[in-house]
Symmetry: C2
Subunit: 424 residues, 2 copies
């Protein structure tokens, strides 16, 4: 009998980075001048290095550091042990706050979000050591390229005190259409999502109609992040029934979404009321949503995201994919996951076009026809640019931002701003 191979975690390095981010508006405020991410490098006693990427609010960084110590000695295939080590390191009392949700999400537990980058890095090592792209470890790519969606934002022309950014102001339907045209021309997207919840609903409906006119064949979506009441949501759903493919989080909560769902045939999607496995049973029983937006950073890595996909398939729910501001390691992981998920039939969200800096070597994750080719080399298929990592870490150290605070930043400009959901 041959002895089994082992490849144990010898050390983990966690490097916070900051990258420039435009003033993108949303229901809780506005993006700060820098977005934060943590780059996780898992080194094994077999000499391999695997990569992960996650949020970098300081609370989250402290949890990552605790887990980084706890997982030393764990075999990279033993994901059950990795999960247990995460649970044990975090303790029973740890809530899910502090993971860069900007105040938009409430999670009961931090385990899944903290576990995620370690799991992705272990899958990267698994792939590198077995000569398999990560998509193979997830059941095999069912598509060679993964379609993403253009992600439009209302935005200011500039961060206060800085020069205009490259994208300029977008506060009117015409400006949004210009933003969409530029993004679609550059990336080839065939789906377009608007981050709403910023202007009164009638203005956002008008913007969606302008997008429909300018892009008659594109699939369209709007996500007001729960900014509307049930009545407004029902009204907008009727108005946009022939315009959009799904309506994402019009109103907060499973009960609210269920109340809207009873009054419309338009599929309701969510990344707010179903963001952890414990939300699935109440959402299914209430018939609250038709589409779940997965997110491996939030749901505990790639294998648990496959479980989510299987649950959606089993319970007749559609599946799409959510994005926060992210860099190339996350894009690679999202692409492998989406490629290996047969029922992920919607174009995935991505903030990728909004960033101008990265930590991975270029050339792997280019968008053609709105889609990213699934890397076919072992592991995630991306390699760190050590110089870029160093520069973005220096930027983290010097930028002064230590957590995502969209509301605080907005109130520094508009002191009366309040991030109340269901406001309209």
């Amino acid at each position: 009998m041959t002895r089994a191979t082992r490849s144990r975690i010898a050390a983990v390095e966690i490097t916070p980075v900051a990258f420039e981010d435009p003033p993108l508006l949303n229901v809780v405020g506005v993006h700060q001048p820098y977005a934060l991410r943590a780059i996780v490098r898992v080194r094994t006693d077999s000499g391999s290095v695997g990569l992960g990427e996650t949020y970098a609010d300081e609370t989250h960084l402290a949890r990552l550091a605790a887990v980084a110590k706890a997982v030393v000695g764990t075999d990279v295939f033993d994901l059950n042990a990795l999960w247990r080590a995460t649970v044990d390191a975090l303790g029973a009392s740890t809530g899910g706050g502090g993971a860069s949700f900007g105040g938009m999400l409430e999670l009961g537990s931090a385990v899944a979000t903290v576990y995620s980058p370690f799991e992705v890095a272990c899958l990267d090592v698994q792939g590198r050591e077995t000569g398999r792209p990560v998509s193979d470890l997830l059941g095999g790519a069912v598509r060679d390229t993964v379609p993403f969606s253009a992600y439009l934002f209302y935005k200011w022309a500039r961060h206060p005190g800085r020069p205009d950014d490259d994208w300029g102001e977008a506060l009117t339907p015409d400006q949004l259409v210009d933003q969409a045209k530029r993004m679609v021309t550059a990336y080839g997207f065939e789906a377009i999502k608007l981050k709403g919840g910023v202007l009164p609903p009638a203005d956002e409906v008008e913007a969606m109609r302008a997008l429909r006119e300018a892009f008659p064949d594109h699939r369209l979506r709007i996500d007001p992040n729960g900014a509307w009441t049930v009545d407004t949501s029902v009204k907008v759903a009727a108005e946009l029934a022939d315009v959009i493919e799904y309506l994402e989080d019009p109103t907060p909560g499973i009960d609210g979404m269920a109340a809207v769902a009873r009054e419309t045939d338009l599929p309701l999607a969510t990344n707010m009321c179903v963001i952890a496995f414990e939300h699935l049973e109440p959402a299914v029983r209430a018939n609250a949503v038709g589409v779940v937006l997965s997110d491996h950073h939030l749901w505990g890595g790639l294998q648990r995201s496959r479980l989510l996909a299987g649950i959606c398939d089993t319970f007749g729910l559609g599946l799409s994919m959510h994005s926060n501001s992210h860099l190339g390691i996350s894009l690679a992981a999202m692409t492998h996951l989406a490629a290996a998920t047969p029922n992920l039939t919607y174009a995935c969200d991505t903030h990728y076009p909004w960033k101008t800096e990265d930590v991975v070597k270029p050339g792997v994750l280019d968008f053609v026809g709105g889609a990213v080719a699934v890397p076919t080399t072992p592991g995630l298929g991306v390699d760190l640019d050590e110089d870029a990592l160093g520069a973005l870490h220096e930027q983290y150290l010097s930028c002064g931002i230590r957590r995502r605070e969209d509301t605080v930043y907005m109130q520094s400009v508009q002191p009366a701003f309040e991030p109340n959901t269901a406001r309209w």
Copy 2:
């Protein structure tokens, strides 16, 4: 960039075998003198051989043969492609009959059962080629040994026209207790299941009470395979509430089980009304069952059984494991799966003690304290005994049995026998 490894299926051999089986009684009749299984060997262009085991009714064998041709060229990691090849080879019109359920189960599709042994064989190759036990490929073993349950049967002393078998008659409580004592002494089981639905309910309740008296600390179960009405099920549940850990399939159908569940706190388990993913949503909505018995042969292999486990965990359902008459390849697969499934907290069913012949080399799958040690060598950890395989294939050719027909065989002895469920 390193090129990815590929390991493609070059050929598949399917070998039907027959092994001696005692006259075990159940709701649809009695086990024939031989049980049939098909041994699947997947050979790759890289020179590896992976093993799978499944049913061997002739309808099932024909489907296996069609899929065996269709999967040539598929990479052993590309389970999504393996599934699609199975779907395509079987066509849309194929129902799920013919897979050796003895008339007890109705499946709407044959895809999952036909796919299963190919998937297990591919995982065996994956493990052999990466140096990993199959449990590693399923997320890592959370236990070193997997507890199984003693599986008691009412039985005749002999098959008609043959000498008494080694176990003798079991038609009374005392005889069942003797059977249990012998099995527990030999294997160390700490849980005991009785296959019921054979005698009137009062007799089977009496048997369970006798087992409780003889085994005060063992976990006990009874499975009448839907032989009872809802009213009888509720009555027996009350009588056995303090005796058994769960009541398996007392009555047929999701609606029937839900009606029983409303009247008892005893967990209801099933391997009859929830045997495919499409049964999960109606069962959850009806609150019909508390425990699902997984079975990788039925649910489409080991990865889909992990999905089932994740669904049970997410929706608050307990998880146990079902068995049909099987050989060592299946036992190895069941053991790896159970080891890597954290929420499989019940002892697994197995018919293993009832067989006297096998196709795998001995020494790997011994029972100690009622449990099987998880193989730690690459792949499933079992190797074929080519001589034994040849002998059991010869036995298949000569025995004359081509499908499982418990009812037909029973009626050859008791012409008036009718396999009606909910009879009592």
